[in-house]
């Protein structure tokens, strides 16, 4: 059991995860932000390793990735920074990014270095299920890394079952809905989709991501899932600020509604 699976065995609701891009807003920010987030009350972290062409992300995270690349962030640099991770941070940490930088680093090397740094899991949105299962799954298991897959409103039940069977951490439920019509408004449709997935009684906990930005959206997500992930809103908050660390406690307490 890694830190992530331990967290889910102990905490079943209102789990808050924060995404941020390594090397943004400055190259040395990675561990400082992690410490500040843990102190402020985040339950687990997703640290993004930047990619030049992040198609699953919007303009805010693409911008942070480009700044991070310009700042000199690479996977090599990130793993170097993460050597001190477990002296400073005790909550679960996942790495999130695109498959190409990982392939260049070597999937084996990536898993080895992630495990050595005390990373608990990975999210690679553009790694296909088939390739993951055939080529890489054993490597993740060998290094005790949870592998997280995404599910969208359009994902079929059969595919959700398959994803559930390949997951060992949580299922990342995307809130974006692109279906139209049928007389339902968008939020009703999203609720029906959350209900549908929850009713499947999956093995893995559900964490909702994309579009979670404040207390209202966090609470709403928690009605249906075990927790939620905030990315863009956090990256915006720490962007372009000299004293970015000092904004973190307020940001977290506002979302959790504890102030």
């Amino acid at each position: 059991m890694n830190r992530l699976t331990k967290l889910f065995s102990e905490k079943k609701e209102n789990i808050l995860s924060i995404y941020y891009t390594a090397g943004y807003p400055e190259i040395g920010a990675t561990l400082k932000i992690a410490q500040a987030l843990e102190k402020a009350g985040a339950d687990f972290l997703e640290i993004g390793f930047p990619y030049s062409d992040p198609v699953a992300d919007g303009p805010v995270i693409q911008h942070s990735s480009q700044v991070a690349i310009d700042n000199g962030m690479t996977l090599k640099m990130l793993f170097n920074q993460l050597k001190d991770l477990r002296q400073q941070v005790s909550i679960p940490v996942l790495l999130m990014g695109y498959v190409n930088p990982m392939l260049q680093y070597g999937v084996q090397n990536f898993c080895r270095d992630a495990a050595e740094a005390g990373v608990d899991g990975i999210i690679v949105p553009d790694m296909p299920l088939y390739e993951c299962e055939e080529l890489y799954k054993d490597e993740f298991i060998k290094h005790g890394l949870s592998n997280i897959f995404l599910v969208t409103p359009q994902t079929s039940e059969e595919r959700i079952r398959k994803i559930d069977s390949l997951s060992n951490g949580f299922i990342y439920l995307l809130s974006s809905s692109a279906t139209t019509g049928k007389g339902l408004n968008q939020s009703e449709e999203i609720s029906k989709y959350y209900e549908r997935v929850r009713a499947m009684d999956l093995n893995n906990p559900l964490i909702i991501g994309f579009g979670i930005s404040d207390k209202v959206s966090f609470e709403r997500a928690n009605k249906f899932a075990n927790g939620a992930i905030v990315g863009t809103a956090f990256v915006k908050t720490i962007g372009n600020k000299e004293d970015y660390l000092s904004h973190i406690p307020e940001f977290i307490s506002k979302i959790k509604g504890s102030n």
Partner: protein, 395 residues
Amino acid sequence: MKTNYRINEKGYYGDFGGAYIPEMLYPNVEELRSKYLEIINQPDFKAEFESLLKDYVGRPSPLFLAQRLSDKYGAKIYLKREDLNHTGAHKINNTIGQILLAEKLGKKRIIAETGAGQHGVATATVCALKGLECVVYMGEVDIERQAPNVARMKMMGAKVVPATSGSKTLKDATNEALRDWINNPVDTHYIIGSVVGPHPYPEMVSLFQSVISEETKKQLVEHTGKDQPNYVLACVGGGSNAMGMFYHFLDDENVKLIAAEAAGLGVNSGHSAATSVLGKEGVLHGSRTILMQTDDGQVVEPYSISAGLDYPGIGPQHAHLNKVKRVEYVSITDDEAMQASLLLAKMEGIIPAIESAHALAQLEKMTFQKDDVVVVCLSGRGDKDLATFMKYFNL
């Protein structure tokens, strides 16, 4: 054992291909994958595709024996005249196929990416023909460089959306189009313009473009009595005209296939798009292929004087054909391509697209036997490049 050059049941050409896409795109791509072969083999689809290629595009495009060029090089040089197609390039073969497919899938909205604007124009054209909404993503930098094509698209009713992220060129336009598709998965079809992207796009686009080599074989029999030339040449950016030109020759092992990439200011100048030399294996725009990238796996911005070859990767089938050495990939600089453009204009009265001139430039570097039969794919016409020619040659 004979090497297999074609796609396998998993969507791979050897080590390359696949569908490396975020889950948000899975339903769209899966819908295409599971239906495209059945649809394009239906008799009514085939009939409409062939009729539009004939009466709207103007096919078959001629195979022209370039006599003065032949005398100069000491071989029989034939030009496959894709430049004579409606809209001025081979791109329309693919957009006709995909618009018919989109109709069969019940899609109401079409999106596309474009670099120089040729594929954008070809997409706007078929959308106007079919009365479908059309949105074309184009890098902000390219919109400035290619004003006439932007105007063409607008005249035909397309909305041209500037891609303002990253380097603001073709690869960023592709990212924006993919994002649009993520946000509009149900009613929208994405017409990719080259043999790139997640499976089944590379295969589908090369099938639609394969009409080029299908016609060439028949025309060669009329001209020479044989359907196999000694050499077939085409230029490669993403590689769609080359795949179309090579398609029916792949298994004719005695036909030598040559693909010309853009070396820009020189392969090692830092301003180049010669992917087969500079690229490493990785994933770009949804498929495993070779691409120009840093050691950290960040995509490198390519350069070529020709906007259509200015792409940091090549299609997965090209990556495979390069690896198994079925096709020889060569590098042509800006200057070599520009001189080849001028030569064709002066000797044959044909102004080629600068893209196509990369293939023509390779002729200078080859030695031929007197009876050699050579086919060069003249993928597009040079009208769109006039501003570049005027500046380069001080016209």
